[in-house]
Amino acid sequence: MHKFQNRLVICVAALALFAGAAQAAGTWNRGANSDVQSLDPHKTSTVEEHNILLDLFTGLVTDDANGNLIPGAAESWTVSADGKVYTFKLRKDDVWSDGTPVKASDVVFSWKRLLDPKTGSEYASMAFPVLNAEDINGGKKKPDELGVKAIDDTTLEVTLKGPTPYFLEMLTHHAMYPVSEANVTKFGDDYVKAGNLVSNGAFTLAENVPGDHIKLVKNPKFFDAANVKLDGVTYIPTEDRAAGVKRYKAGEVDSMNDFPGEQLAEMKKEMGDQLHMGPELGTYYYIFKSQKAPWNNPDLRNAISMVIDRDQLADKVWKNSMLPGYSLVPPGIKGYSAAMMDYAKMGQLDREDAAKKVFEKLGISPSHPMKLELRYNTSENHKNTAVAFQEMLKPFGFDVSFVTADGKTHYSYLEQKGDFDVARAGWIADFKDPVTFLNLGHTGDGNNYGEYSNKDYDALLDQAAVEADPAKRMDELSKAEAILIKDLPLLPLLYYANHNLVSPKIHGFVDNVMDVHPSRFVSKD
């Protein structure tokens, strides 16, 4: 009898173990758009890494489930009256995953590292509002001159070049995350390897197999560890979207942060509310070479814009996976009202009639067609958009031809200010503020590929940059955008929308314009 009992105990124990193994389903298998380039917050270059770095690290401020700013490593902060000095109070007993305290000096070290030319950080510009940052990065000043000071272990004082109302928003960018000084000093650039990496986020790095997965496990030393429900998160790159959806259906991944838009209708039928779609802070636009005739004519640019049926682009070409866009800055930034094209509300017919008059005045008609060369980087959807653009302009006497190239060639051509008529580009916000978009039209900006230049516009932007009153600033920015929309050197076509496919097993996943989804607020059945 005893024996039997023993056996029973063993069985139950085994069952419990088994159940425990099943409990490991507390790991969220997150399908990710693409492979991660780097886990070093100072060396990443794409928006793809944001979610994973957000799980690993906690910035001074961080994102909540809605993508809104909440206190992170800093529990509070004060801003000086002139808006130039920020004083952060760090959490008192916050520690890195190795148990050493998170100190203000770590932040100072991190930002210096970010700005050090030897680091070669692509997102160094995120710290440029800080005093002397740009000069340090340009090698003109020493890192020690950076306007950041650790008053004591938990007090950090940041001095800015000028008032930067969106500075806190910039701090949510992963480039500004602190790393452990001791850790980086110990391992050098290899500190990001699994086994070496020490972080202060809700999760720590367990494995990194490029192209396969990045496994994070819960960080018990995280300041809010008590409220973290997941045991871990595994990021799985699913570059082939169609294959990714199949894996999702097979339950191999719990979510995907993109899916093939062209199958939207069918997927909606099949998966219903597992499909999450919402506006995102991003704009899909075409650029006119605005200094070159005939594209230097705002009337022509606007007439072309009027002819483009954005509803059809969004609906038929992108199957509603993008939204029709009539402004450069997409909606969704609190306090900002985007300047819409005045014909946004006009019926397509009226627009076309109006545009036709302009074209006639310019002598463009099907019998006297005008040539237009459109450059875009190769991709199925860019191609479809371009083809639709071509078809829409054809009846009005435009002979649209394409020049396509792979992404690298395309952007290096644009950056080198190569010649074109119209080119494709897209912009996704790094942080939640209109300037990130509006700078695209600022004279001399690196991303102003069409070389648009308007003094009034520049002046308004520059003025807004030093404006301390947020409401007033937003107003000035809006005015600037109005100028841009009237001139239309950039032709906004669509707003990006985020597409997530989320299993019903996942809870706490909230759609938001930044498409930010910290795993610490998520749970899984």
Binding site: S38, L39, K43, G120, N137, H213, R247, G407, Y411, G446
Partner: protein, 307 residues
Amino acid sequence: MLRYTLRRLLTAVPTLFLIVTISFFLMHVAPGGPFDMEKGIPPEIKKNIEHVFHLDEPVWRQYLDYLGNLAHGDLGPSYVILNFSVAELFSIGLKISAWIGAWAMVFALVVGVFLGVVAALRQNRWMDYAVIALATAGSTLPTYVIAPIYQLVFGLLLRLTPVGGWGDGSFSHAIGPIITLGLPQLATVARLMRGSMIESLNAHHIRTARAMGLSDYSVVVRHAMRGAVLPVISYAGPAAAQLITGSIIVETIFQIPGVGRYFIDSALNRDYTLVMGTVVMIAVFTIVFNFIVDLLYAVIDPRVRYE
């Protein structure tokens, strides 16, 4: 034999050198660099990055540096997958690609040779036509059609194997990639084997074997097949080198962390070191496998002797 091996090694060095040189300059004359992307980087920052990676030096200088490092076996860091050196990426991915590739080759050879022999023995009968049809289908259906169909049928509908991913590296994850990778090879092997087997069966010494009253098994397997397998071996060498170094389509669709993806991705990303590393890797495998083919020839065919 040793001398022959040594000589082959010696000739491999200049070949490799030329390949590296051609690829290096080809890569560098292509427009764009690793740090041109959708979001333009401010020029000063770009300058910093290029300095960090020595991309601001003249191309010949970069070339000499690369050659120097290569001579020490250093393939350099990846410019795009920043956490890893090229050698680390290969050490992770190559064993997976090679494992899948080797099984795919074994699958292709075993089944392909079998089908080829059967077709040759049943020349111009339905069995033969069936094999020809299969072989042609195998070489005309693109991998990117076969792979998703496999995923749909075996992964989603029948739930026999995972749809994708590498997971723990178990065979169930590999079976899909192996089949889709092996199928086109199988088709070619079957075709080749059929052709050489028909030729071999018409050889005079097969007539002798038949005249001596040897059994069909001996005639077909011992005498006809051994010679007929030679063209398959010459094909299989370079094909194996290709399979082992991975396939972009199979690895992308099945989401396998092999090295096949790197080639095209890195070329499009202008990840110079990774491209060059891939070039070197593929060239080395090609050279090695061609050498193995030659050795196998000598083993199978006593008329072939290398000094």
